[in-house]
């Protein structure tokens, strides 16, 4: 018990002092996960809207697959991306294995289904309500999809934040494709795993506290955005 208390105190000191090593890890984490969530949103939100509004063969199967992919195990994604990017793999030429770029690729694949599947659900619910009115006003599928994306924007922000939380908190994928190289690809989750196994509890705990705070802050932000939007825009 005493050891944990000591470690917590030390962790607090590291955070309060903006310890250089700690900050480097935190910033790399944010950079990788933010990039991944931006790419996943740029692709996933229009995809979700298209599936919600479109009628095409195989639509139901696509929805089921997308929903299933929300539960993708990060280590499996890591493994697949590793195989693609390794020297012998089809994309080995790129030479990005064990770089932050590879980690962005893996996390993007991990959260794209989350963003697409959840936004599809939200937009389709809105579509049920809007469909006749938009059709009556003469909106085609494309313009309906854009209108729905805009009209559900506050729910979509929540989804994007959920995606970011998932990316920032996963360890399996970035560990495999990043390699947890000190100063290059070491992020919060991989550092926690490593430092814990090494017995360096203060750094692990410090990172844990930051990670938890980040997830908490994200959820608070998502809640606030939704609430205030509901109050202001109905």
């Amino acid at each position: 018990m005493g050891e944990i208390t000591l470690a917590l105190e030390e962790a607090g000191r590291l955070i309060a002092a903006f310890d250089a090593k700690l900050m480097e890890i935190v910033f790399l984490s944010l950079r990788v996960s933010l990039t991944a969530v931006v790419i996943a949103s740029v692709l996933g939100l229009p995809l979700g809207a298209a599936i919600a509004v479109g009628r095409f063969p195989g639509r139901q199967a696509l929805i089921v697959i997308l929903n299933a992919l929300m539960g993708l195990p990060p280590v499996v994604v890591g493994l697949l991306v590793y195989l693609m990017l390794s020297r012998a793999g089809p994309l080995g030429q790129l030479g990005i294995l064990f770089t932050p770029a590879a980690m962005v690729v893996a996390q993007t694949i991990l959260i794209l289904p989350i963003v697409a599947a959840l936004s599809r659900q939200v937009i389709e619910d809105a579509w049920q309500e809007y469909r006749e009115q938009l059709k009556s006003l003469g909106a085609g599928p494309m313009s309906s999809a854009l209108t729905l994306l805009w009209d559900t924007r506050y729910s979509l922000v929540t989804i994007v934040l959920a995606g970011f939380g998932r990316a920032a908190a996963e360890v399996g994928a970035v560990m495999i494709v990043g390699g947890n190289i000190d100063g290059v690809t070491r992020v919060m989750t991989t550092a926690i795993a490593l430092e814990t196994s090494k017995g360096d509890l203060p750094l692990a705990l410090g990172l844990g506290v930051i990670l938890l705070s980040l997830v908490l802050a994200l959820n608070a932000a998502a809640y606030r955005i939704k609430e205030s939007a509901q109050r202001r825009y109905g």
Binding site: Y130, E132, S136, L137, S143, D151, R153, Y233
Partner: protein, 234 residues
Amino acid sequence: MLPLVLDQVSFAVNGKTIIDRVSMEITEGPRTVILGPNGAGKSVLMRLCHGLFAPTSGTISWRGAANGRRRQAMVFQRPVLLRRSALDNIVYGLKLAGFSPRERELRARDVLEAVGLVNVAERPARVLSGGEQQKLALARAWALGPEVLFLDEPTANLDPGATRDVETIIGQIRAGGTKIVMATHNLGQAKRLGDEILYLNQGRLVEQTPVDRFFTKPASAEAEAFIRGELPWN
């Protein structure tokens, strides 16, 4: 584009007939009221006329000359407003109809003025009261300058004051030369706003009669029973 001619139009969902071989002609002059009990098929008939549904069999055709732009509009029982300001809701419809940005703004301000919503122009549409929302929906349709305006029980969810306002606005729209086709189950409203009655029961068009004749000497026993049944509350 009028007259609108329906020839033996039927509409069925999952084998259940909702509109049963309706033939009729909607002409330019009189205000047409589609009257009938709940479940008679009034809303569905209106959606068929407006083009939201395609008939299962039979034909619906606009016989008059069309002049390019979409010249019909519809207001629903429950208004569907977008999550943006009252003004922008109207601008949205005008944009889809192909009006220039300058014209959109001018027309939108004009109709807001006409329906008495200028003071809430910048307010989010969805936080307006039920009556204001329906007036806004009417304004959005009116701004398009439709030749025909379909109204599906536009006052069914409103209090007497808002109902009066909406009926006044309908009168104004009519005065501007727009053909009114309205569904209602309210006999008082049918009398006030109708010139001819299309009486619908169980998906069949029972009679098409001028309003005074309908209320004094209905041709069918069903219509007579409907009028009698309603009288105590009229």
